[in-house]
């Protein structure tokens, strides 16, 4: 999700400008392996790019955004991502309320800047509205009214007032308020901080649920697709205190895309089967049969040697015959060429393609049967034998247009490792 959000964010951007990647989440897949580093590698960012995971607080995304804005002595850009994959127990209120999402922002000084910082403030307090101990899957939430009255209504208005004070801005001039709280609580927070109630942005829980860490960034992205030049936007984060960040939309906001968040809400496919949903969340342990017993050990020597191929989805292009090929090898695959050591790197992640062959395999092991795979012909040449994702039986035909997305490829349950690769999905 983080990679996909970042790709959407970086459309048309020269990625060599990115010098820092921050990934904020309370549900990072690795405790010892830079998760921002995985994202950086998938995006093909340069090796000098610094990376930072912001963990253990739903306020991490606003924290990372403020940290990115504070990088005052650098000239490159910072990519800030918030993401959470929030597991819940069946039947819990969280199950009905939560969503999984990622959102990404690019922070820099370029001419295309759509919003600039005015001021920010943080008020901290070890207020435990909910928690999840290390190694646990599920949140333990405290009483909602206590959380609202003693937590959200105490910390958020304080941080907001402090930020406005630092900015010297009047509360009634705020055009948009982004808060990670339910709309009714946000209204109360706005009233407490003296903000106009009409400025409170919709919580979008109806569209994507409460997504946790990324939610302030997701709502900010949504807000900036509608903001007018000069409007003040207040972004807040909550979790063991509160962040408030005041931004002003620039003239460039006029030419900013208007459909990014909506497109994300409309993408993917729906899963109407509750049992399959529980299985995807790992709540129900299905019997996957003997084929799931295959050892999914990763040869990390190979994974590292070929990480540009695998994580970055970089193929080769022959200097002699211009043939694009995946994987990149030392000998050109073009039967008319076959030259040695003539291939330059050819990024393929953003290259579209069309389905050459396909099948829906009900015998193969996958946690989302059937396993759909086949050959895709890249636009501009080359072929990849690949899995498809987000397809349902009957979706594919020879010639169907596809694009590539970054996904979990295999899970090595025995060693607690999972590996990523790219999969084709139908272009809508």
């Amino acid at each position: 999700m983080s990679v996909e959000a970042a790709r959407a964010c970086l459309q048309g951007v020269d990625r060599s400008r990115v010098g820092w990647v921050a990934l904020a989440s309370t549900t990072l897949p690795f405790a010892d392996r830079s998760n921002a580093g995985v994202v950086s590698a998938a995006l093909g960012l340069r090796e000098q790019c610094a990376m930072q995971d912001f963990a253990a607080s739903r306020r991490g995304a606003t924290g990372a955004l403020i940290a990115a804005l504070d990088r005052s002595d650098v000239t490159d850009d910072a990519l800030v991502i918030g993401a959470d994959r929030r597991l819940t127990r069946p039947g819990s209120s969280q199950e009905a309320a939560y969503g999984h999402a990622a959102a990404a922002l690019l922070v820099g000084r370029g001419a295309g800047t759509i919003a600039e910082r005015v001021a920010h403030a943080t008020v901290a307090g070890d207020f435990v509205d909910q928690y999840r101990a290390s190694g646990e899957d599920y949140d333990y939430a405290l009483e909602e009214r206590w959380v609202r009255d003693e937590g959200q209504l105490r910390f958020l208005p304080q941080a907001i007032r402090l930020a406005l004070e630092r900015a010297g801005a009047a509360a009634d001039r705020i055009a948009h308020v982004v808060a990670p709280t339910p709309a009714r609580s946000s209204q109360a927070i706005a009233r407490a901080a003296g903000l106009p109630e009409r400025s409170v942005a919709a919580d979008r829980f109806d569209a994507c649920g409460d997504t946790g860490t990324p939610h302030p960034l997701l709502l900010l992205a949504d807000c900036l697709e509608r903001a007018l030049p000069g409007e003040l936007v207040l972004v807040t984060g909550f979790g063991q205190g509160a962040d408030a960040l005041l931004l002003r939309a620039t003239d460039a906001v006029r030419s900013h895309r208007k459909d990014g968040v909506a497109a994300a809400f409309d993408g993917g496919i729906s899963e109407p089967e509750y049992l399959r949903f529980l299985s995807h969340c790992g709540v129900v342990q299905m019997d996957w049969g003997k084929r799931a017993e295959r050892d999914a050990r990763t040869a990390h020597t190979v994974a590292w040697r070929r990480h540009r191929d695998i994580v970055g989805f970089v193929g080769g292009r022959c200097r002699r015959c211009d043939t694009v090929q995946y994987p990149r090898t030392r000998a050109c695959v073009n039967p008319e060429c076959r030259a040695f050591d003539t291939q330059d790197e050819q990024p393929l992640a953003d290259t579209g393609g069309s389905v050459k062959t396909w099948t829906e395999d009900w015998l193969a092991y996958t946690r989302d049967p059937p396993l759909v795979y086949g050959n895709v012909a890249f636009d501009g040449g080359g072929n990849v034998f690949t899995e498809f994702t987000d397809t349902r039986p009957g979706d594919l035909a020879v010639g169907t247009r596809v694009r590539f997305v970054f996904r979990v490829k295999d899970i090595d349950a025995a060693r607690g490792f999972h590996r990523y690769f790219w999969k084709a999905t139908v272009t809508h």
Binding site: K290, R291, E293, R294, D295, A296, T298, A299, V302, A303, R306, D309, I310, T323, V324, Q325, Y326, P327, T329, V333, N334, P335, K356, T357, W358, T359, E360, D361, W362, L363, A364, Y365, T366, P370, L371, Y373, G374, N375, A377, F378, G381, G382, N383, V384, F385, T386, E387, P393, A397, V398, G399, K409, D410, R419, F421
Partner: protein, 400 residues
């Protein structure tokens, strides 16, 4: 200029065990069953064998990686045994080793054995295995039926066939093999089926249903080869000689290059072309008396008819439905039941095909004899359409 091995090597004995779920047998027992038949056929002392080639694919873990298991199972007189493996062309690869040794004059008499004991793997289908440390990082977690199902999607699109028409032709392919196997006491699946049964069977990998997939069996088959001159000295009159043994592996084009459209097998076309040239076959459609091809899945057999030059492009569907490859058709195909019904113990399959062609050429096939053929073809396709090794072999009566 190399002249190939046409008529330089004679087969003087062949054996094939009963294929199936041989719960009562290990690989050693299967090999002995095939070998005893071949020795009796050749009327030869075991110690006349000077070298042997053993083909085994999956089951190296149970019978060891080397050639030792053959040497020990047959109590061979400490002659060299070479173990070979080349996916589903493994059995043919063993024969190629033995035949080349004889043709080179290195030995007078050699043995080729292929075996697979699949029913000890614990899998109802072919067992799961790693595809390679790099390949596992990116290739789909495919199964053989899913990999070959790709051919159907591409073939239908390429030639503008409705899937329902293609499915009916595929069902005919399987129906025909079940009919043929009913006459074969050594076949794994000897039941007859109806076309509708095949069409309505549960889906395995679209569009391949249960009856589009071959049997997964235990089995062994072997051949004893020598020169035609020695065969004559041993008193052989009717003699089957090898007319051609050709192999073509993929070089990556199917996996990485845009030129392959997924609807055919490049390697089969190359191997067939070379084999027809080696055997001086000018018109395979007229000259071939029977064929045994790699019908791992019904769609594979269907597209192979075009790859082997026996049907025109896009016409295999019509030819199959017209009965051209039925036992009473112009070119009988899989008269022993094929991989579909004789079964597919991977390492043995190439030699099992040769066994049927040999038996038919000598007119010994009893109730399943198809006339008096003078030339027969066997074909293996190891791997998957995206990367594979194809073998095409031709066998004929000596002097014809």
């Amino acid at each position: 200029m190399a002249t190939g091995i046409r008529d330089k090597v004679a087969i003087i004995g062949m054996g094939c065990c009963r294929f199936g779920e041989r719960w009562d047998c290990g690989a050693e027992d299967l090999m002995l069953e095939a070998f005893a038949e071949a020795l009796a056929d050749a009327q030869l002392e075991r110690d006349r064998i000077e070298a042997a080639w053993l083909g085994v694919f999956y089951q190296e873990q149970s019978i060891s990686k080397s050639g030792l298991s053959l040497s020990m199972a047959l109590r061979l007189p400490n002659v060299p045994v070479t173990r070979v493996e080349n996916l589903c062309a493994t059995g043919t690869e063993a024969l190629r080793g033995a035949a080349y040794a004889v043709a080179a004059g290195a030995v007078d008499i050699a043995l080729a054995m292929g075996v697979e004991k699949l029913k000890d793997t614990g899998f109802p289908g072919l067992p799961e295995r790693t595809k390679g440390t790099f390949e596992d990082l990116w290739q789909p977690g495919f199964t053989p039926p899913g990999a070959f199902a790709q051919l159907a999607a591409a073939y239908a699109a390429r030639h503008g066939h409705e899937m329902t028409t293609l499915k009916r032709a595929m069902a005919h392919v399987s129906w025909k093999s079940h009919e043929n196997a009913a006459h074969n006491p050594k076949a794994h699946l000897r039941n007859r089926i109806r076309i509708e049964q095949a069409l309505e069977a549960p889906m395995v990998a679209y569009p391949l249903g249960l009856y589009d997939c071959c049997g997964v069996s235990d089995g062994a088959a072997c051949a004893i080869v020598t020169t035609p001159a020695i065969a004559v000295s041993l008193g052989r009159c009717d003699m089957v000689t090898i007319k051609a043994l050709q192999l073509a592996p993929s070089n990556g084009v199917e996996l990485s290059h845009a030129s392959w459209d997924g609807s055919h097998t490049i390697t089969t076309r190359l191997a067939a072309e070379r084999a027809y040239r080696e055997a001086a076959v000018r018109d395979p459609r007229r000259e071939l008396g029977l064929i045994e091809v790699h019908d791992c899945f019904s769609i594979t057999e269907l597209v192979l008819m075009e790859d082997l030059g026996l049907s025109d492009a896009g016409r295999a569907v019509a030819d199959v439905l017209d009965g051209r490859y039925d036992r009473d058709g112009a070119i009988p195909c899989q008269v022993d039941g094929g991989l579909k019904c004789f079964g597919h113990p991977v390492g043995a399959s190439g030699l099992r095909m040769a066994y049927e062609v040999y038996t038919q050429l000598l007119g010994r096939a009893g109730e399943r004899q198809v006339g008096s053929p003078a030339l027969g073809l066997t074909h293996n396709l190891g791997g998957i359409p995206n990367r594979n090794v194809a073998s095409v072999s031709l066998f004929g009566l000596h002097g014809k």
